[in-house]
């Protein structure tokens, strides 16, 4: 992205706080001016008080200096707080904006990016911008201002000595620029390694059960060690450059000061200049080199910020692929009639995963979706939830194209129960009430009872207030599943998607879940994906998918008589159950 545009975009975050930001800037200017005054007053002290033994002025001058130091400290306190305040607010705004935007992005974005990389942008990159927005920009302006004022003071005091003071400047500027050029790519590498390290953590820690089940702790440790080593190498490269640069900078300025000191001393000894002026020069010179170096470094500091800004804005500039159409509809009442009409869909252009999908689900019907893995069953229900839009054809809810409906409204009509239910870290009650804001306790209990979950919940140590742990790990698989069914029941959706909802639990739990599902599916249009075909006996209609197309459609008995794929799958499962019986 263009640098100027990025900078403008960054600065725009100060907009809501411009009065405070300007106050902070003015305080910074005042702080800098007060920092320069003591150098001038030192000259006065030496030339007008110490040398002429002017006792009368000594105390007043010292009190003046004390006053300046106190004022500078007071301004420093207020300024530091203001800067932190602005930084914290800007970071807060940015983080909320990025996270809100992430929530709007489609599943496609999240499948393309690694979780850790996304997290790194929301945390690390935004933190890096905090300093630049709150202080970096002001520092650049203040440093320019300070350099200018010191230049004027030096030239007014002694033009020739001032010119000598400026001698090391080109060298400092050049070396700082070169340093910036060298360190910038190294920092880039450090950040990329850091993001990749976060990605490993975000991958391995949620999958720790798989890691342990396969006894792959060493492999994961090696993976992290590998990424850590890559990070270490780049950090050491950066450290080498830092270690080299600062002593060199110190040497340059020290050499510069020797020239000024030498020439200045001669001038004093020969009576062309007072001692006070020389001391003032020496003080100002040190105060001069630092902002010069900071300005030299400006390029690389801006680069730092812009790199992070680019990563953050890349997220913000990613337009949600699925948006509400103008005048999107919210139906006053949903009956639940779903029609797929000539639907074609592909994740990648030219590789359709669904073709010629045509069927109607009448309100309250249970539609079984079966077929081999990769046949397109899950994709089909994803399209119904409008996680993706069809390439061609239409999906209609009560005769309205789902693309014409408000996305929020559409998804409120659809309840989902997955094979591996995802619970959030929170209480049982919070998880059941997740889809309904401000659900009443009575409603939560009713949903839990309908899901056959109430009895196990009241037996938990804290009942409905029991914290389920990250992803609900403190509950068993069957308990998690029943909580997720209660969550779906409470939403009271008109359409229900059951994705292998009973396949990963024991028989007794399956019975409890099946009872709960029976209650859940009543009066709702239900799409049930199932590998265990016996669970679909009661389905109104079974759609058999193969290679992204509908191979067969009919009731259980019709398909069983038809000698097609469904019939073959049923026979195969019957054979398998015999094999399992030994």
């Amino acid at each position: 992205m263009e640098r100027a545009k990025l900078l403008r975009q960054l600065i725009s975050y100060l907009g809501p706080y411009k009065v405070i930001a300007i106050s902070g800037f003015l305080l910074t200017v005042a702080f800098s001016l007060l920092s320069l005054l003591p150098a001038y007053l030192t000259k006065v002290l030496i030339d007008n008080v110490i040398v002429p033994r002017n006792y009368a002025s000594l105390w007043s001058l010292l009190f003046l200096l004390l006053g300046i130091y106190v004022a500078r400290a007071a301004i420093g306190v207020v300024r530091a707080y203001i800067m932190e305040w602005i930084g914290a607010h800007v970071v807060y705004d940015m983080r909320v904006q990025v996270y809100d935007h992430l929530q709007m992005l489609s599943l496609g974005f999240f499948s393309r990016k690694q979780t850790g990389q996304i997290m790194s942008r929301v945390t690390n990159d935004i933190m890096r911008l905090q300093y630049f927005i709150a202080e970096g920009l002001q520092e650049i302006l203040v440093n320019l201002f300070t350099v200018l004022i010191i230049c004027v003071m030096l030239f007014v005091a002694h033009a020739k000595l001032a010119a000598l003071t400026l001698l090391p400047i080109p060298l400092i500027g050049l070396s700082t620029y070169v340093f910036g050029m060298l360190i910038h790519p190294v920092f880039h590498k450090v950040w990329r390694r850091m993001a990749s390290l976060t990605a490993v953590l975000a991958d391995a820690i949620p999958g720790i059960r798989v890691v342990k089940s396969f006894a792959q702790e060493d492999r994961e440790s090696r993976r992290l060690r590998g990424r850590s080593e890559e990070l270490l190498v780049q950090e050491l490269n950066a450290a080498k450059l830092w270690a080299l640069f600062f002593p060199l900078f110190g040497l340059t300025t020290a050499a510069g000061s020797l020239i000024v000191f030498g020439y200045g001393s001669l001038q004093v000894m020969q009576g062309y200049m007072t001692l006070g002026v020389l001391v003032m020069f020496m003080q100002l010179m040190w105060q001069f080199y630092w902002p010069v170096q900071m300005l030299g470094e400006m390029n690389h500091r801006i680069q730092h910020a812009l790199t992070s800004a680019e990563r953050v804005f890349e997220v913000l500039d990613t337009a949600p692929e699925l948006l509400d159409a103008d005048g999107s509809l919210k139906l006053p009442e949903v009956e639940g009639r779903v029609e797929f009409r000539d639907v074609i869909f592909s994740y990648e252009p030219g590789k359709p995963v669904l073709s010629d999908i045509n069927f109607v689900a009448e309100p309250g019907e249970v539609i079984g979706l079966v077929g081999p893995s990769g046949a397109g069953k899950s994709t089909l229900v994803h399209l119904l939830s409008r996680f993706y839009d069809v390439d061609d054809g239409q999906i209609l809810l009560d005769g309205h194209d789902v693309r014409d409906l408000s996305l929020h409204f559409l998804r409120q009509q659809i309840g989902v129960v997955l094979q591996e239910p995802f619970l959030f870290h929170g209480t049982v009650s919070e998880n059941i009430g997740y889809g309904v804001s401000k659900a009443k306790p009575a409603e939560i209990i009713a949903a839990a009872k309908a899901a056959n979950a109430h009895d196990f919940i009241v037996n938990l140590p804290h009942g409905y207030d029991t914290v389920v742990g990250e992803r609900g790990q403190l509950l068993s698989g069957g308990e998690r599943q029943r909580v997720s069914i209660a969550r779906a029941i409470l939403m009271n959706p008109r359409i229900l998607i059951l994705d292998e909802a009973t396949s990963s639990v024991d028989t007794e739990t399956e019975m409890l879940i099946q009872q709960a599902l029976d209650r859940l599916v009543s009066n709702r249009t239900t799409f049930a994906i199932a590998h265990r075909l016996s669970t679909l006996r009661k389905a109104s209609k079974i759609i058999v998918m193969e290679h992204g197309r509908i191979a067969e459609m009919g009731t259980h008995n019709e398909l069983l008589d038809g000698d097609g794929l469904y019939s073959r799958l049923c026979k195969l499962q019957a054979e398998l159950s015999k094999v399992r019986a030994w």
Partner: protein, 190 residues
């Protein structure tokens, strides 16, 4: 004669039917029966077993009361569970029970949910990844270890619930009512 645990000793007038499979959510919500306190009697027998009786007829013996929302207090409900952990009655507003039943229930609940209230914190010291709390409670001086920061939960901004390494629970009812030193020490842990 010895009565088996959790046994329904008297049949109800209208046996509550199993929820039909075709019930809608609205019907489920309507079916949720929370029993008013005026219909319930609770007492202990000579073997200290808890009895609960509905409308003077349906009686369950050796039941265990469980508060439904014991932490948040989102609703004042008590579930009576039989020995299989199955709910036999869900009673709302137990404060409205007759005085004898209320006293009995409160004693049972207090035993189940024994949570000392922290009134002063002497010290909280981090050692070996756990935090050792040295506190004064309404039940006296206590020292306990909190294994994880996750075991210290803040509710409603000022109420703090803790669980020690042995599963015992402690509570700070209102952080703002503690002295400054105690507040400062707890503040580091939350």
């Amino acid at each position: 004669m010895r009565v088996p645990q959790g046994l329904l000793v008297k049949e109800p007038k209208d046996n509550q039917a199993e929820a039909p499979a075709d019930a809608s959510w609205e019907a489920e919500l309507g079916r949720l029966e929370m029993i008013g306190p005026e219909r319930v009697r609770v007492w202990r027998d000579e073997f200290r077993r808890l009895h609960v009786q509905l409308d003077g007829e349906t009686e369950h013996v050796d039941v265990k009361p469980a508060r439904v929302f014991p932490v948040s207090g989102a609703a004042d409900l008590v579930s009576f569970l039989d020995h299989d952990g199955k709910e036999v009655l869900l009673v709302e507003n137990p404060e409205g029970l007759d005085p004898e039943s209320r006293r009995t229930l409160q004693e049972e609940i207090a035993r189940t949910y024994f949570v000392p209230k922290i009134t002063y914190v002497y010290d909280i010291e981090d050692s070996h990844g756990a935090a050792r709390w040295e506190v004064e409670t309404d039940r006296g001086y206590r020292v306990f270890d909190v294994r994880d920061r996750e075991d210290v939960r803040v509710l409603e901004g000022t109420r703090v619930l803790l669980q020690d390494a042995d599963g015992n629970r402690f509570e700070v009812e209102d952080l703002t009512l503690l002295d400054e030193r105690s507040r400062r020490l707890i503040d580091k842990e939350i």
